[in-house]
Symmetry: D3
Subunit: 171 residues, 6 copies
C-alpha cells in the first residue's frame, strides 16, 4: 500500500532580506527574484514530502499587488497541498515586512508543481499527502481543479473534459 504523510510535515519557512541587487531603479523588489525564492522554498517542501530530488513542473498564475522595498524582510511559507502519482502541488504564501515601521502585509500566494526524480532523473512515485485542518482539506480539494486548468493551458486536456474546472463557471 502507498505510504501516507501529513501535508503539514512538508511545511517550510524561509526568510530573505531585500538587497540592492534584488531591486529595480525604483528600489522595488523585482518579480523574477521573488519567483526564484518561491521556487526554492516550494522545492524544499516537495523534497520533504517525497524524500527525493524534485524538479519544477509548472507554476500557476502569480499576481503582484504590493510593491516590496529595499531593506524589507520577506517571509515565504510553503506546504504540499496534494500529491498525485509522481508529482506534488505546493502552496506558497509570501509576507513582506517593513520592520522599522512595523507594517507587515501578505503580498502573494502561489501554487507550484514538482515531479520527484530518482538518481537517474526518472519520475518516481511519491507518498499520498493527507490533509487534516479545514484549510488543508479545502486546498486538497481545489488541487484537482487547478490541475485541470494547468493541463488545458498546457494544451494537454480539452476544456470540455475539465469537469471540476467547469464548476467555477457555475455550469
Amino acid at each position: 500500500m502507498r505510504k501516507q504523510k501529513f501535508v503539514k510535515d512538508s511545511y517550510v519557512r524561509m526568510t530573505e532580506l531585500v538587497l540592492p541587487n534584488d531591486t529595480n531603479t525604483l528600489n522595488n523588489l523585482m518579480g523574477g527574484k521573488m519567483m526564484h525564492w518561491m521556487d526554492i522554498v516550494s522545492a524544499i517542501a516537495a523534497q520533504k514530502h517525497s524524500n527525493r530530488i524534485v524538479v519544477t513542473a509548472s507554476v500557476d498564475n502569480v499576481s503582484f499587488k504590493e510593491s516590496i522595498k529595499l531593506g524589507n524582510v520577506v517571509t515565504l511559507e510553503a506546504q504540499v497541498t496534494r500529491a498525485f502519482s509522481t508529482s506534488m502541488e505546493v502552496h506558497i504564501t509570501v509576507w513582506a515586512e517593513d520592520i522599522p515601521s512595523g507594517t507587515k502585509v501578505k503580498s502573494n500566494e502561489a501554487y507550484f508543481t514538482f515531479v520527484a526524480l530518482d538518481e537517474n532523473g526518472n519520475a518516481v512515485p511519491v507518498p499520498e499527502a493527507t490533509p487534516e485542518t479545514d484549510e488543508e482539506k479545502e486546498k486538497y480539494a481545489g488541487a484537482l481543479r487547478r490541475r485541470q486548468l494547468r493541463l488545458i493551458l498546457a494544451g494537454r486536456m480539452k476544456p470540455n473534459d475539465a469537469n471540476e474546472l467547469k464548476s467555477i463557471f457555475n455550469l
Copy 2:
C-alpha cells in the same frame, strides 16, 4: 490621440549560459532561475514599448517540460502582445541549446504582465501596441481572454462575466 507603436519594436533577445549555481544536484536548471531570466527579458520589452520603468504585475501559468542542463545555452525572446491603459502583456519564448551535440529545443512559453510607472511610482498610460503579422494579431486577440483568466484567478472578476474566456469551454 494615444501614441501607437508596433509590437515588433519591443522585441528583445537575451542569451544566458547555465552555470553551476543555476542548477540542482542533478545538474538541471532550476525553474526559479529560468523565471528570473524571463522576468528580466520581458521587463526590458515592456520598458522598450513604454519608455518607462516597469514593475511585474502578474505571471501566467508556466510549464516546464524539458530539462535544461548545466552548460546549455538558453535563449529568451520577448515581445509585447497588447497594451491596456497602463499595463502591457509580454509573450516570452525560451529555447535551450546543447551546442556540442547540436540540439536545440523550445523549452517554454509564457506571458508576463507589467505596469508602467513614473518617477514617483504611480501608474502612467502607455502607447497602444499595434500587431502586424498574423501571429502577432492572434496573440493580440488572445490577450483579452488571458486577461480575464488572470482577473478571475486573482479574485477580481466573476467567472460568469468573463465572456471571452468562456468561449474556450465552447459555451
Copy 3:
C-alpha cells in the same frame, strides 16, 4: 518606562539550500557562507525586537562539527536572548538536513550581538527583552557572563572584574 517585549516575538526561521558556489572542492559548505547566513537571520531577529536598523557588534565563538554537503537544506532559527541599553544578544541554532536520506542534525549554535541605530547611524535604546520559558530564562541569565567574556576578549574589561564569568571556573 522602558518598553517590554517578549523574546519569543523576535523569533525568525530561515531556510537555505546549499548550492555549488557555497561549497569547497570536497563539496562541503564553507564556514564563511554559514556565518553570512547566521548574520542575516540574527540581524532580522534583532530588527524585529528593536524595530530599528541594526549592525553586527560581535560574534561569539562558533564551532563547526558536522560537515554539511552540497544539496543539503540548512535551517537557521534565531531569537533575542537579552537586551542591554542599545544592544541585543541573539541566539542562533542551525540544522542541516539531507532530505533524500532523511537525516537531520543540529550542526551549530552561536551568539551574535547587534546595536540598534537611528536614521543617522547613532545608537538608540531598545525595548527590554522578557524571557518566559525555562530555556529562555537560562539564556537570559547567561547573557551577562557571555557579555563579560566578550568585553575581556575585546580588551575592554579586566578579567578580575568579570564576576559572572569567573563563576564558570568555580572560583
Copy 4:
C-alpha cells in the same frame, strides 16, 4: 620527523571592494559578508601551510567596532599562528580604507581554526608551524590559551583543567 614550515610562508593578503549587495540600508558593510571574506582568506593561509584542502573548525570571538562604508577598500591579511596535530590556528587582521579621503583604520582582528583533510575527507597531520619574529612567537604562545577557551566553550574541556587560560584571571 615531522616537517617544519615557517609561519610567514602561509601569509596571504586579500583586497575587496565594498559593493552595494554587501551593505545594509545605511550603506554599512554587513558583518556576515566580512566573516565570509575572513573565512576565505584564512582558509587559503591554512591551505598554504598544509598543502591540503581545509575545513573551518571554529571561529573565535570577533568584534566589529568601526563601520565600513560602501565603496571602501577592505584589506585582509591572514597568517597561521600555530599548528596542532591536524589543525591550524590562523590570525586575521582587517583594514578598511576610504581612499578618496585617505583614511585607513584597523577594523578587526580574529582567529579562525581549520582542519586539514585528505581526498576522502579524513583529517590528516599537518607540518609544524615555526614562529620567527617576536610578534609571531607571542601569537604562537597564546594559541594554547585560546584553544582551551574554544574547548571549554564547545563543552569539550572542564574549566578547571584549563591551566593556560586560568592565567588570564591571574589565579
Copy 5:
C-alpha cells in the same frame, strides 16, 4: 575536406540590465563586468561555430568611451570573423540604452579569440568560417593583421615578420 560554416551562423545577441552590484559609487557600470559579459557572449558565438567547449585565448584592446549607468540596458552582439586551425576570432559590439530617455549609443567594440577543446581539454580543429557580406569580408581580412599584433604583444612573433601588420604603418 574541412567543413565550412557561414560566419553569420555564429551570431549571438545578449541583453543585460545594469544592476547595483555592477556599478561603482558613481553608478557607472564597471569595466570588468562589461568584459565578463563580452567573454560570455563571444564564447557562445565560438561554441556555435565549433560545436565545442571553448576557452578564451586572448582579448584585444578594449576602450571605454561612454559611461553606462545603473538601470541601462546593455545589448551585446557577437559573431565569428575568421577561423584558424583550432582557434576563432570573435567580434563583439556593445550598445548601451537608456530606455526612459530613449537614447542608445554604441559603447564598445572588441575582438576576443577562443580555442576549441575536446572532452579531455585538448585543442581540436574547427570548421572554416566563410564571410558573405562586405563587412564580414573586411573583418575576415583584418583578422590576420590583428593576429600578428597579438602574437607580437604576447612575445611569440618578431615585429619584422609581421607583414600584414606593418601595412598599417604604410611601410
Copy 6:
C-alpha cells in the same frame, strides 16, 4: 607644482579562490571572470594613486596561456606604471596556484588604464607617478609606446605619428 607619488605606493595584492560559478564545464576559470578581477584590483591601485573614484578607460591585449582550475588560488598584483594628466596606466600580474600539488605559475600580465573623476563625474588631474627600481623605470618608459598603440587601435592617432611605437618595428 604637481604632486608626486611613488609608483610602489599604489601596490595592491588581491587573492581569490576559483569557485564553481567561475568555471566552464571543463572546470577551467572563464576568461571573463579573470578580467573582472583584474579590473577591480587595478582600479584600486589607480584609486590609491589618485585618491579619486576612477573609471576604466581601456584594457590592453590580454592573452590566456595557462588553464586555471576549480579550487585554485589566484593572486593578482597591481601597480601604477605611469600617470598622464588625468589618467593612469596600471600593470597587473596574475599568479595561479594549485596548493595541494604545490604548483604556482604566472598566468597573465596586463595593462589597464583608468581616468580619475571628481564627485560630478568630470576628469581631474592626478599626481605624477615616480618609478624607483629598474623594473618600474622600464615599465614607465614603455607606457608611452603602449599609449600610442591604444590611440591607434581606438582610431584616435595616425600610425605614422606614433614614433615610440614604430621603434618596436626597428624602423
